[in-house]
């Protein structure tokens, strides 16, 4: 699986302002595969992003809002986008600059998610 997913991750990381993209197990918070620019701590981002996504998914479920497909976290020095809900335990995480185009990232994330389904 890893070899076939590598182009998906690389396509995401090629987007302007994207620093890292990772495929992560939601339940474990462990990295399945990643494409990281220099200086990014993939394991830390993966664990924390998976944890946030999981909590969001459970919250949406408790509120009877259905599945969470996309999650965006804007912080002072960057933003994290997570897409999941492909019917498996995997989520795709990107770390981007605050000025990155979220629309494009979101589109690429959904394309990548289709490959994971």
């Amino acid at each position: 699986m890893s070899a076939s997913l590598r182009p998906v991750l690389e396509a995401l990381t090629r987007q302007r302002g994207v620093r890292a993209s990772l495929i992560v197990s939601e339940s474990d918070g462990l990295v399945i595969d990643s494409s990281l620019r220099f200086g990014q701590d993939g394991e830390r981002v993966a664990a924390l992003a998976a944890s946030v996504y999981r909590k969001a998914r459970l919250s949406a479920q408790a509120a009877r809002l259905g599945a969470v497909t996309f999650l965006q976290l804007d912080a002072e020095r960057g933003r994290i986008c997570v897409a999941g809900g492909a019917g498996n335990d995997l989520v795709i995480v990107t770390v981007a600059d605050p000025a990155a185009n979220v629309g494009l990232i979101r589109m690429e994330l959904f394309k990548a998610l289709e490959r994971l389904a």
């Binding site: 394991e43 924390l48 998976a50």
Partner: protein, 164 residues
């Protein structure tokens, strides 16, 4: 969560670890099985058996790792249906320790590993400034007496206010 430590310098790092990682139980011990600190255990007998088992598992996994790839495994993870366990060594200037962490669905292995790394850094920093140990790790002959002394320290009843 209640935390008790035989040596006070480990208490703050361990408290931070269990709080941040949302661990249910944590046990810090010498590789010989002597307990150093515990979080979440309520019975002395549980700590005693967990220490013995963790020490044995660490020794076994270490030897297995040496046979498989020439060096001891860095950590051991077991996932049960409701609870998971992470057992890994920590190095400080005062010596090597093992930490057994039990966690549930409220956290994940990834988070446990991240905060475990931080625990290692915190303990290494605390070890540099801590007072010298009251007694060196017990050798086989004095092991049992040392174990009971440490367990008594962990589960000693709280001091009561005697003034009126």
């Amino acid at each position: 969560m209640k935390i008790a430590a035989v040596e006070t310098w480990v208490e703050a790092p361990l408290r931070r670890f269990v709080d941040d990682a949302r661990a249910r139980l944590a046990l810090l011990l010498h590789p010989t099985g002597q307990v150093l600190a515990q979080a979440g255990f309520t019975r002395e007998v549980d700590v005693m058996s967990a220490c013995a088992l963790a020490s044995a598992v660490h020794a076994t996994a270490g030897e297995l790792g040496r046979q498989v790839e020439g060096r001891a495994f860095a950590g051991l993870h077991y996932a049960g249906p409701a609870k998971q366990m992470y057992l890994a060594p920590l190095e400080t200037s005062r010596g090597s320790y093992i930490c057994l962490t039990v966690f549930g669905d409220e956290t994940s292995l990834g988070l446990i590993r991240i905060y475990f790394e931080e625990l290692g850094r915190d303990l290494a920093a605390a070890a540099l400034t801590a007072a010298p140990p009251a007694s060196p790790p017990a050798l086989a002959g004095g092991f049992e007496a040392e174990l009971h002394r440490n367990l008594s320290a962990l589960f000693r009843p709280p001091k009561r206010w005697e003034g009126r």
